[in-house]
C-alpha cells in the first residue's frame, strides 16, 4: 500500500521537476513544479473530439493504457513491504501488462488512419521490441543472483558485498535509467519537444487524442516515470531500514532521477533515427554482460 | 659462439648500412659469409651441445643451417650482379645488404634456438628485415606488398604468441615452467589435451604465414613477387624453412601426446588445401615470380603431407625440404636474368628465351624438370617416398587428389615455361638486349646439380642427420 501511495505522490511532481531542470539549464526560470498537473487537470475538464474514421479501439485505448500502468504499479514493492500484488514471476507479468498497454496505444494510433501516426506506431513497436530483451535479461540476472523470482523477494535479498556486485549494481541502475528514458519516449531516443511529425515517435501517436483521453495519457507518462524511479529506488533501499529513513530516500531517489532525466534531455541531442536501434541493442549487450557477470560470480561458469 | 656471431652480424650490418664506398660493402659482405661458415663448421663440430643456454645444435637445425650457408653465397653473388646493373645509390644498397645480413643472422639464430620464446623473437626479427627487403624498389605496388606483409606477419606472430601463452598456462597447471623443446617433449603428454589442441592450432596458424601454407600464405606470394630477385630467392627457400621449423617443432612436442592423430589431421587438411589453392592459382597466374611462389606453396603442402603420414614420410619430407631449398633459389636467380632481358615479369612478354641467353634457358629448362619432380631430379625420390607413405597410411583418396592437383600444376608450369623458352612473342624489340655473361648462370647449374646429387646419391652424413632429426617422432609399427 505504501509503495502505491508513494508512487502516486511522486508522479505528481516528477514531470514538473524534469521541465524545471531543463529550464534552469537553459538559463530560464521555468514553470512551477506543479504546472504539468494543472495542465492535466484542465484537460480533464474539457470535452473530447473523436474522429469519424476511428472505431471503438480509439475510444477505449487511453483508458486501457492507464489501467495497465496502474496494475503494474500494484506490483512494485517498497523495502520490507511487498506490493499490493506479489507472486513468483511477477516481473514477467509486469513487463507484459505494460506491453498490453503499449499494444493498445499502437493499434489506436493506427486506427486513426493517419500515416504519420502509423509511422510513429511502427517506430515505437521497434524500440519496445529491442528494449524488451534488455529488461528481461537484467531482471533475470537479478533473479539468478538472489535465487528469487518476484520483485519483492528479489529486492529483499539483494545485497552488495564485493566489488563486482557493486559494478553489476551500478550497471543495472544505468540500464534501468536508460530503459526508463526509452519507455517514456524521451531523449536520446525520442524528443518530446519536436514539432516535426517526421521525427516524432510517441508524440505523433497521440496527435489525435484530446480532452480527457489526452489528460489520461499524459498522466500515465508521469506514472510510468515514477514507477521506474521506484524500481531504481528499490535497489538502494535495503531491507530492515526504518520507514522514516526509507521514505525520504525514496523521494530523494525520485527527485534525483528526475534531475538526471532533465540533464540528459538538456545536454544530448536526439540520435539519428538509424542509430536508435543500435543504441537500444547496445543496452541488451550490456545486460547480457551483466548476466554473464552474475554467472561468473555464482561460479556457474568460471 | 652464438653470442659472438650475433654481435658481429649486428656490427657488420651497421657497417653495411652506413657504408658509402662499394669496397667497404663488399668487404663486409665477405666477412659475413666467412662468419656464417665459421658458425656452420663450429655447429657441425658440436652436435647436440648447447650454447648460451638457449641455443642447441641439434640435427634439424644443423641441416637447415647448412642449407642457409650454402644458399647465402649465391644470394650475395647475385645481389652483387643485381647492383652492378643499376645505378649505385649507396643508401639503398646499404639498407638492402644490412637487411639481408640481419635476415640471415636472425634465421640462423631461429634455427639454432631450443626455446619456444627465443624462436619467436627471432622470427619476429625476420619479419622486420624482410619488409625492408621487399620495400627496396620504392613504388606503389611494393608499398602495398610491404604494408600487407608487415601487417599479416605481425598478426600471425601474435597468434603464435597466444599459442605459447596457452602452452605456458597448461604447463603451470601441472607445475612445470620450462618452455624449451626438450622439456616440452617430455612434459606434453601430461598436459590437458584441450590446451594442447588450442596451442597447436594457434601456433600452426601463425607459422603458416612464414611457411607459405593455407591460411596465411598470401603475403608470402606478394613478398616474393615484389622483392628483388636474390632477396626473393632467400624468402622462398630459407624463410619458408623457418616456418617449417616452427611447425615441425611444435608437431614434435604434440606427436607423443593423445592429440597426435588430431594434429595429423590438421596437417593433412592444411597441406591438401595448400596444394589445391596453388593448383588453382598456377593455372591462372601470368606473372612469372608469382608462379614460382605458388609452386613453393605446393611443395610446402607436400612436405606437410609427408610429415602427417609418418613412417618413411618423415625422412622424405625433410629431404624434400632440403632439395626444394636448393632448387627454388636457382629458379629465382634465373628469373632475375630473365627480367633483365625482357624488363617484364609477365608470361605474355617473355618468349624465345633460347635465342637470347642460351645458358640461362638451359637452367630454366633443367629447373623445370627438377622442380616438377621428374627423374633424375632428387625431388622425384622424395615425392615418391611421400606418396608411398600416404598410401601406406591408408588415405587413398588423399593420394588421388594430390596426384590430380600435381598433374594440373605440372601441366600449367610446363605450358608456361615452354612457351617462354621456345615460342616467339609478338612485339618484342630485338635491339638493345642485354648480354648476360654465361658465368652468371654457373651458380644455378651448381645448385641444380646439387639437387640431383643429393637425391640420387645422398651422402651418409645427410641421411643420418635426417634420421636423427626425426627421432622424437613416433615410429610406425
Amino acid at each position: 500500500m505504501i509503495s502505491f501511495m508513494l508512487i502516486i505522490t511522486a508522479s505528481l511532481f516528477f514531470t514538473g521537476i524534469v521541465i524545471r531542470t531543463k529550464s534552469i539549464f537553459s538559463g530560464r526560470k521555468g514553470p512551477g513544479v506543479f504546472q504539468p498537473l494543472r495542465d492535466i487537470w484542465r484537460l480533464f475538464r474539457k470535452g473530447v473530439v473523436y474522429s469519424e474514421t476511428t472505431s471503438f479501439i480509439f475510444r477505449i485505448a487511453p483508458s486501457i493504457y492507464f489501467a495497465t500502468v496502474i496494475t503494474a504499479i500494484l506490483l512494485i514493492p517498497f523495502g520490507d513491504q511487498p506490493g499490493i500484488m506479489s507472486f513468483p514471476g511477477d516481473f514477467v507479468f509486469f513487463a507484459y501488462v505494460l506491453a498490453l498497454g503499449k499494444f493498445f496505444m499502437i493499434i489506436s494510433a493506427m486506427d486513426t488512419g493517419s500515416s504519420f501516426e502509423g509511422m510513429g506506431a511502427s517506430r515505437e513497436a521497434l524500440y519496445s521490441l529491442l528494449a524488451e530483451p534488455a529488461f528481461f535479461i537484467l531482471m533475470g540476472s537479478f533473479a539468478l543472483f538472489t535465487g528469487q523470482t518476484s520483485f519483492f523477494e528479489i529486492f529483499q535479498s539483494l545485497h552488495f558485498e564485493s566489488y563486482i556486485s557493486y559494478t553489476l549494481g551500478a550497471l543495472g541502475t544505468f540500464i534501468f535509467i536508460v530503459l526508463a528514458m526509452i519507455e517514456n519516449s524521451r531523449m536520446p531516443v525520442d524528443d518530446p519537444k519536436t514539432h516535426l511529425e517526421l521525427t516524432m515517435v510517441h508524440e505523433v501517436m497521440i496527435l489525435d487524442n484530446s480532452g480527457f483521453d489526452l489528460g489520461l495519457i499524459l498522466h500515465t507518462t508521469n506514472l510510468k516515470f515514477a514507477m521506474y524511479g521506484a524500481l531504481i529506488a528499490n535497489i538502494f533501499i535495503s531491507p530492515g531500514m526504518a520507514l522514516y529513513y526509507s521514505i525520504p530516500l525514496f523521494i530523494g531517489v525520485e527527485i534525483l532521477f528526475a534531475i538526471v532525466a532533465g540533464a540528459i534531455e538538456s545536454f544530448m541531442a536526439r540520435f539519428r533515427m538509424n542509430h536508435n536501434p543500435q543504441f537500444i541493442f547496445t543496452l541488451t549487450s550490456i545486460s547480457i554482460l551483466i548476466f554473464l557477470g552474475v554467472l561468473l560470480m555464482l561460479g556457474r561458469i568460471s | 659462439m652464438i653470442g659472438i656471431y650475433l654481435i658481429l652480424s649486428f656490427v657488420l650490418s651497421l657497417i653495411l648500412f652506413f657504408a658509402q664506398k662499394r669496397i667497404i660493402s663488399y668487404f663486409a659482405v665477405w666477412s659475413f659469409i666467412l662468419l656464417q661458415w665459421v658458425l656452420t663448421v663450429h655447429a657441425f663440430n658440436r652436435r647436440d651441445l648447447a650454447s648460451l643456454e638457449y641455443f642447441t645444435f641439434d640435427p634439424l637445425s644443423l641441416i637447415l643451417l647448412g642449407i642457409l650457408s650454402i644458399v647465402c653465397v649465391p644470394a650475395f653473388y647475385h645481389s652483387y650482379v643485381f647492383f652492378n646493373n643499376r645505378k649505385d645509390i649507396p643508401r639503398q644498397r646499404g639498407i638492402y645488404y644490412a637487411a639481408m645480413v640481419i635476415l640471415i643472422a636472425s634465421l640462423s639464430a631461429a634455427y639454432l634456438s631450443n626455446h619456444l620464446a627465443v624462436t619467436w623473437i627471432f622470427v619476429e626479427l625476420t619479419t622486420l628485415s624482410t619488409s625492408a627487403l621487399v620495400y627496396h624498389n620504392r613504388n606503389e605496388r611494393t608499398l602495398e606488398a610491404t604494408w600487407k606483409y608487415i601487417f599479416v606477419c605481425s598478426i600471425s606472430i601474435t597468434l603464435v604468441f597466444v599459442g605459447i601463452l596457452f602452452l605456458s598456462i597448461a604447463l603451470q597447471h601441472q607445475g612445470f615452467k620450462e618452455l624449451s623443446y626438450q622439456a616440452l617433449i617430455i612434459d606434453a603428454p601430461l598436459l590437458n589435451p584441450f590446451w594442447l589442441k588450442l596451442a597447436f592450432l594457434f601456433i600452426f596458424t601463425g607459422f603458416t604465414a612464414k611457411a607459405g601454407l593455407v591460411p596465411m600464405y598470401t603475403v608470402g606470394i606478394d613478398a616474393k613477387d615484389k622483392a628483388p630477385g636474390p632477396a626473393g630467392a632467400l624468402l622462398a627457400s630459407v624463410l619458408v624453412n623457418v616456418g617449417f621449423l616452427g611447425i615441425f617443432r611444435i608437431y614434435e612436442v604434440m606427436a607423443n601426446t593423445s592429440i597426435a592423430q588430431w594434429a595429423n589431421t590438421i596437417l593433412v587438411i592444411g597441406g591438401l588445401i595448400s596444394i589445391f589453392v596453388s593448383a588453382v592459382y598456377i593455372l591462372r597466374v601470368k606473372n612469372l615470380k608469382r608462379m614460382l611462389a605458388y609452386s613453393g606453396v605446393e611443395h610446402m603442402g607436400i612436405v606437410m603431407l609427408g610429415v602427417a603420414s609418418g613412417g618413411a614420410g618423415y625422412y622424405a619430407a625433410i629431404l624434400h625440404l632440403v632439395l626444394h631449398s636448393f632448387a627454388k633459389p636457382a629458379l629465382f636467380f634465373q628469373v632475375d636474368q630473365v627480367y633483365r632481358i625482357y624488363r617484364s615479369k609477365s608470361i605474355y612478354d617473355i618468349g624465345n628465351y633460347f635465342a637470347y641467353n642460351t645458358p640461362g634457358a638451359m637452367v630454366l629448362l633443367f629447373a623445370f624438370f627438377i622442380i616438377t619432380a621428374m627423374p633424375p631430379s632428387g625431388m622425384f625420390i622424395s615425392e615418391f617416398l611421400i606418396f608411398r607413405s600416404i598410401f601406406e597410411s591408408g588415405k587413398i583418396w588423399l593420394l588421388i587428389l594430390v596426384l590430380l592437383f600435381l598433374t594440373l600444376i605440372i601441366w600449367s608450369l610446363g605450358k608456361n615455361i615452354f612457351k617462354m623458352l621456345f615460342i616467339r612473342t609478338l612485339g618484342f624489340k630485338e635491339e638493345n638486349i642485354k648480354k648476360i655473361h654465361p658465368a652468371e648462370s654457373l651458380s644455378q647449374f651448381m645448385l641444380l646439380a646439387l639437387v640431383v646429387y643429393l637425391g640420387l646419391n645422398p651422402p651418409v652424413e645427410l641421411v643420418n642427420l635426417i634420421h636423427d632429426a626425426t627421432q622424437h617422432l613416433p615410429r610406425k609399427i
Partner: protein
C-alpha cells in the same frame, strides 16, 4: 577489483564497435591502457619489483600515452577524414560483438577448471576476436592498426592470466612486438598517405591474380 576492471574492458569493446569517430577509437585505446595498468598492478604485486615496474611502464607509457599520441599525429599529418567507415552497419556490428562476447565466455567456461581466472580468458578472447572483426569490417587503413592494438591488449590480458611466473624474455617480446609494429605501421601509413592520397583499403588492391 580485477573482475570489475575486466568487465569494464569488455564494455569498452562494445563501445568501440559502435563509435563513429577516429578520435573516439583512440580515446578508448588510451582508456583500455589505463584499465590494463590497473589489472596488471593488482595481479602482479607480488613478483619482483623490476618486472613490475617494467610492465607498468609498458602499459601506462606505451598503451595509454605514446601510442595514442602517435596515432593522433598520424591522423593529423595525413588529413584523414575523422570518421571510421565500416562496411557493415553499426547495428549488425553490435549484434556480432555481443555474439563474440557470449562465445568467448562459453569458450572460457569449457576451457577452464578452476574458478580463479575465467574472466581473464573471456576478456582476452573477446579482445582478440573483436580486434580481428574491427580489422575486417573497417575500410580505413588506420583502423586496421587500431584493431591490431586491440588484439595486443587481448594478448596482454592473456599473459596476465598465465600468471606471475612469466619470464622477462616474454615481456621483452611483447614490448618489441608492439613498439616496432606500431612504429613501422605508422611509418607506412604515412608513406601510403604520401603515395596514394586516399586512405582507403580499397586502394590496396593492385596485387592480385
Amino acid at each position: 577489483m580485477t573482475n570489475t576492471l575486466l568487465i569494464i574492458l569488455i564494455i569498452s569493446l562494445i563501445y568501440m564497435v559502435v563509435a563513429n569517430r577516429l578520435y573516439t577509437y583512440i580515446a578508448i585505446l588510451a582508456f583500455q591502457g589505463v584499465a590494463l595498468f590497473g589489472v596488471a598492478f593488482i595481479e602482479l604485486i607480488e613478483i619482483s619489483v623490476i618486472n613490475l615496474i617494467f610492465i607498468l611502464f609498458e602499459t601506462i607509457v606505451f598503451k595509454a600515452i605514446a601510442i595514442p599520441v602517435f596515432l593522433n599525429y598520424v591522423i593529423k599529418r595525413n588529413n584523414l577524414t575523422r570518421e571510421a567507415e565500416p562496411f557493415v552497419s553499426n547495428f549488425i556490428s553490435v549484434v556480432i560483438i555481443t555474439g563474440i562476447i557470449i562465445g568467448s565466455f562459453l569458450l572460457s567456461n569449457t576451457l577452464h577448471e578452476d574458478q580463479l581466472k575465467g574472466i581473464f580468458f573471456a576478456a582476452a578472447l573477446s579482445s582478440l576476436f573483436t580486434g580481428l572483426y574491427i580489422i575486417v569490417s573497417r575500410r580505413k587503413i588506420i583502423t586496421h592498426v587500431m584493431g591490431f592494438l586491440i588484439i595486443e591488449n587481448g594478448v596482454f590480458v592473456l599473459s596476465l592470466a598465465a600468471g606471475s611466473e612469466m619470464p622477462m624474455v616474454v615481456n621483452v617480446g611483447i614490448m618489441l612486438d608492439i613498439f616496432v609494429s606500431v612504429l613501422l605501421l605508422g611509418i607506412f601509413v604515412n608513406r601510403i598517405g604520401d603515395v596514394l592520397k586516399e586512405h582507403d583499403s580499397e586502394q590496396l588492391r593492385q596485387l592480385r591474380d
